[in-house]
Subunit: 315 residues, 2 copies
């Protein structure tokens, strides 16, 4: 059931012993939003802890420096930035998939899997929504909370670059910086910190870039061998995914990548095309300009399927 | 002579028939700030026009769509984002170098070459300063002005990424968006629009990347032949210049590039090093984290000189 802002604030103020869940393959928005909520709930005198299906990438470790462990029996389960049950990841889906009390989200593809869902689809990040909720709870934003929320606001918008950024996004960024967010350091870590492996991976991807439909569709495929050869890790793909869309004339950018037990597909689109619609066709979802889906078949097959579908039905 | 904010506003309000000058090799900040000032002065019932030593790169043409030509005899000369006389470019330096009445700037290397200079060295862009001046003149920011100022605020900060971005920068961005700035479109044009030639150039640069001092110094050299082979143009270098600093462990990133009649050197630094100090040694200048200098000798010689100086005296 969808609920309004007041009801979401009421739940956060009334309940206690919170378990906060992020989505699988956690990014800056789900981690930043989830952890900010934990810090804020504790500041409001409650108990709260964060759990994730997958390991938190090393680059986000600065957010956890001041986090004290706490173990208690959970009473109220909140998810942040999770559009549907299965995106919690296999373990968390099994354990908590049907038990989420409140989902805080901003995806247009949100499946309302929780008992109550507060979603703002015109919000550039889940962290923007969490910011408003924390303020409405009457909790003062301290440096820890500010760093968490700034990380999500910045990473989910390509550092304030994407078209979903509104005046409100910038106002919130300003308030977070005033509250102590280390914007320069965070952005340098998130956007200007390429490992040598990721630079090698990028070089390889540029060498293997393919175009279709008169350059309107661009494809990068990242195979298992490319990871092995460069020593790059999964989070290095964050730099690769936006690459295709950045090329002049490209309307739909497709990145297909080896992800261990599955093949992940990231689609980025420009203006006239809806990435989330394309991904929905393959059982995925996301935002209008950035979406994803998953396959369990050989990477060459996935390439053929996705590209043929786009060429025949979309472009 | 340095003047205060009130005096700068007074000059803009009192004078008429403005000639506004940008710096040579114009970027988004000098163009956006200069043109915003022209639009604002005209809105205040004055005559004003912009002139540049070098051609405006095509990618900024959207800012000029609503600009009417105006020819009149100039009475008051203002420069925007110009730190010293020679940066006006050879022709403009000769013609106006000693005649600038008011310099509006934000460089720490500002040489106070104008009769009066208003400079805010802690401002992330010249456009931030121009925004405050326009507001104080009592001119309402319309869409044209907002697009110009947003372009400068965004391009001079790597899309709000760099450490010089303050809460004020984001507040101004929020106000500009509210006043009609097309942030999504502008950022896509500035940061997500790589030509195929520039992608080829990037690939080549990554292939030729060199490291010194245990990876603390990175060097990219862009030769005449690389431009010829890829068909890339000068403004494609905007994507290349930040590359070196983005690599993990790199403290000083050096990009040396063929620029027709000169060899340009761009230095980007992290935390502990001052790029502007290094460039000053070679007669250049700029900001603490991003600066430049120029040579007129073979590119291999420039490489040797700059790298030896850094290895022996800086790192």
């Amino acid at each position: 059931m969808k609920i309004d802002f007041e009801r979401a604030v009421e739940l956060l103020k009334e309940k206690n012993n919170f378990l906060v869940l992020t989505h699988a393959n956690p990014d800056g928005d789900t981690i930043g939003g989830g952890l900010a909520l934990v810090y804020a709930l504790r500041k409001a005198g409650k108990r709260a802890r964060l759990i994730n299906n997958d390991e938190i990438p090393q680059k986000y470790s600065y957010l956890f420096e001041n986090l004290q462990e706490d173990d208690f029996c959970e009473e109220f389960i909140v998810s942040v930035d999770v559009a549907e049950k299965k995106l919690l990841g296999s373990e968390l889906t099994e354990k908590y998939g049907d038990k989420v009390d409140l989902a805080i989200d901003h995806h247009s593809s949100s499946k309302l899997f929780a008992k109550e869902t507060y979603t703002e689809t015109d919000s550039a990040s889940a962290c923007e929504v969490v910011y408003l909720l924390i303020k409405a709870m009457g909790v003062e934003i301290n440096k820890d909370i500010a760093n968490c929320l700034f990380t999500g606001c910045s990473t989910d918008t390509g550092c304030f670059k994407y078209a979903n950024v509104t005046a409100r996004t910038h106002l919130i960024a300003a308030e977070l910086i005033s509250a102590g967010a280390e914007n320069g350091k965070i952005n340098a870590k998130m956007f200007d910190s390429k490992t040598k492996s990721s630079i090698m991976l990028e070089k390889m991807c540029l060498n293997r870039l393919k175009f279709f439909a008169d350059g309107k569709v661009a494809l990068i495929t990242v195979t298992k061998e490319m990871f092995e050869e460069t020593g790059a890790v999964k989070s290095d793909l964050d730099i690769i995914k936006p690459l295709t869309r950045q090329i002049e004339g490209v309307k739909i950018g497709v990145t297909i990548k080896y992800e261990g037990n599955a093949i992940g597909v990231s689609i980025r689109s420009n203006e006239d095309y809806d990435a989330s619609e394309i991904c929905k066709h393959f059982g995925g979802g996301g935002h209008i300009r950035a979406a994803g889906c998953e396959f369990r078949e050989p990477i060459e097959e996935v390439e053929k399927k996705v590209i043929s579908y786009i060429l025949e039905n979309v472009i």
